[in-house]
């Protein structure tokens, strides 16, 4: 029922029981056997003793206080880690950046209100690439997060802390955010389950924006059922986000072990140059597993996939240059001791507060939006976005889901790609098209290569989370990758 990452590197032996609380059902059983305070206390100890740097702020006092005041709910007493770009009232929220160090939001994000109402206990803020800009969680001002399966490897990004803390068995649940793969990539690299919902299904109120037309908050857990239970709590309409869609659904009804008659499309463009042979093999084996359970598959063509990465980065950087203009050091965040005139003060604060990757994206985004280049880059990218979206509409007309690798290869080594921005961007080739199209997509473990997890990506139609959850659940129930131990 759980993942057991290799333990040789990190855990002080005997300091706590590994993996006992990693699922929601085990956590609730433990609460019934002892008490919620005891269970939350153990969880806090695990985080405090961790060497993965997945949690950058442990919210011990708030967690214990909230646990003492518990009043039922579907997640009563279940610990959760929150990515550090999601506003938590009274708890420091930094986006992994120096410019927001010390910032304490005066209000909760919509998803946090929902979690609190459901009885979930926030035990810490999870590390991330600065402002969610990255694929490795190495750009955080607060240091990189390590992959629990191999601490020499990155956990993926940008929600690397969220995925790593779940994979390490520290916390059963976490929230991430996914702008171009930032939930699915770390879920894939850390061997856990993560969902990027349809754009608009989860309110972005209180999510600190990076590229607002692309991003969604997403749930992360060690198995499909827990991920779905968490998703069910946080999804739903919120009038404070004008892109939030009306309506509520019960997604747990999709937890059905049955894919008979399901039509799967396999886009060949997602197995491009640079795809690791072990990844290709594992994903095809997953397709054949589903076939043996009654699904059918065929190859589909999505010819604009090749251009999705460039279009994504143009749009994301353009939106970032605008969204990050608010960080001026006046209302919150870093302020330097000495003031000059307005423009100089503002420029110096931002130069001191933002890291290199954030600066690069602001500069390029500014370039892509500037007079003379806007049509060539930004408008062109938005048109290519239309073509990418149409690829999905065509492919999903005759197919219920699309299946592909989440990442072309398993996790890479820390430091291996960080010095060359473009090389790092190329790792996102299979995740960014989904954000351009706004469709939902799940990553879940489907194999291992040299001890590192491989992620299976299941994509669906707009608002049809149910079908991809059912497909993922059926795959999981009939395989044992989510229970696999690594020696």
């Amino acid at each position: 029922m759980h993942l057991k990452p290799r333990t040789a590197f990190s855990r002080p032996p005997g300091s706590y029981e590994v993996n006992v609380l990693i699922t929601i059902s085990r956590t609730i059983k433990a609460i019934n056997d002892s008490s919620a305070v005891e269970v939350v206390e153990q969880c806090l100890e695990r985080i405090e003793n961790s060497t993965y740097n997945a949690i950058i702020k442990v919210t011990r006092d708030e967690a214990i206080k909230a646990t003492r005041k518990l009043n039922g709910g579907p997640l009563a007493g279940v610990p959760i880690a929150i990515k550090d770009n999601i506003s938590t009232k009274g708890m420091e929220t930094t986006c992994g950046s120096r410019i927001l160090s010390g910032y304490v939001p005066p209000y909760d994000a919509h998803v946090i209100e929902r979690l609190k109402a459901a009885g979930a206990i926030i035990v810490g803020k999870a590390n991330m690439d600065e402002f969610a800009m990255g694929t490795s969680t190495e750009t955080s001002y607060y240091g990189p997060t390590l992959n629990p399966w191999d601490p020499e490897c990155v956990p993926g990004g940008s929600s690397g802390g969220s995925a790593a803390t779940v994979a390490a068995g520290e916390v059963p649940l976490a929230l991430g955010s996914d702008t171009g793969g930032s939930v699915r990539c770390p879920a894939s690299y850390c061997g856990v389950v993560g969902l990027k919902p349809t754009y608009g299904v989860i309110s972005r109120y209180g999510l600190i924006s990076y590229a607002n037309s692309l991003e969604q908050i997403g749930p992360i857990a060690s198995n499909v059922e827990d991920m779905t239970l968490l998703f069910n709590v946080i999804a739903g309409h919120d009038p404070r986000d004008s892109t939030s869609l009306p309506g509520e659904k019960n997604y747990t009804k999709a937890l059905v072990n049955d894919v008979k008659g399901l039509k799967i499309g396999v886009p060949k463009e997602y197995f491009g140059e640079g795809t690791d042979p072990a990844v290709e093999r594992s994903v095809w084996e997953a397709v054949h597993t589903l076939e043996s359970l009654g699904a059918s598959w065929k190859e589909v063509e999505m010819p604009h996939t090749k251009y999705a990465l460039a279009a994504y980065y143009v749009i994301a950087m353009s939106e970032a240059s605008s969204n990050l203009a608010r960080f001026d050091g006046m209302r919150y965040g870093l302020r330097l001791e000495k003031d000059h005139d307005w423009h100089t003060t503002y420029s110096e604060i931002r130069a001191a507060g933002f890291g290199e990757e954030v600066k690069r994206r602001i500069l390029l985004g500014t370039y892509a939006l500037s007079a003379g280049y806007m049509d060539k880059y930004y408008l062109k990218a938005l048109k290519v976005r239309t073509l990418v979206k149409q690829d999905f509409e065509r492919a999903l007309k005759d197919n219920d889901v699309l299946i592909a690798p989440t990442m072309p290869a398993p996790a890479f080594k820390l430091g291996e790609k960080i010095s060359d921005p473009l090389t790092l961007y190329l790792a996102d080739v299979n995740t960014v098209p989904i954000n351009l199209a706004g469709v939902p997509s799940i990553s879940l473990p489907c194999g291992f290569s040299d001890g590192l997890p491989i992620g299976l990506q299941i994509m669906g139609r707009h608002f049809d989370e149910e079908t991809i959850i059912r497909t993922a659940y059926t795959f999981e129930q009939n395989t044992d990758f989510h229970t696999r131990e690594v020696a």
Binding site: Y103, V104, P106, Y107, Y199, G200, S213, P239, T243, H304, K306, Y307, A310, A311, Y313, V314, S321, A325, D328, M330, R331, Y332, G333, L334, R335, D339, H340, D341, W342, H343, T344, T345, Y346, S347, R350, A351, F354, K359, R360, I362, L363, L364, T366, Y367, A368, Y377, L379, L382, K383, V384, R385, T386, L387, K389, P421, L422, Y425, L436, G438, H462
Partner: protein, 93 residues
Amino acid sequence: MITTKDVEHMGWLSRLKIEEEKLEGYAGQLNSVLDYFGQLDEVDTEGVEPTYHVLEMNNVFREDEITECLTQTLAIGNAPKTQDGFFKAPRIV
């Protein structure tokens, strides 16, 4: 092609002070990404509408009702410099 002068100009537009000695480094990195973006030129987008927003939503309206909002104390609670209950900014002119 982005020159060091362009980098300086982008830095000014985005209020990001770039050290003189770093201009060249940024120009190199930005150009390699910009070259990659160049492949968008291969795509025929004649007659294709841009997608600003993936879902076909129009303006969302609500009743113009007064609801609770942050107090002044909370609103300025994170400001590094304040005076008399206001944000304190450097002089503008």
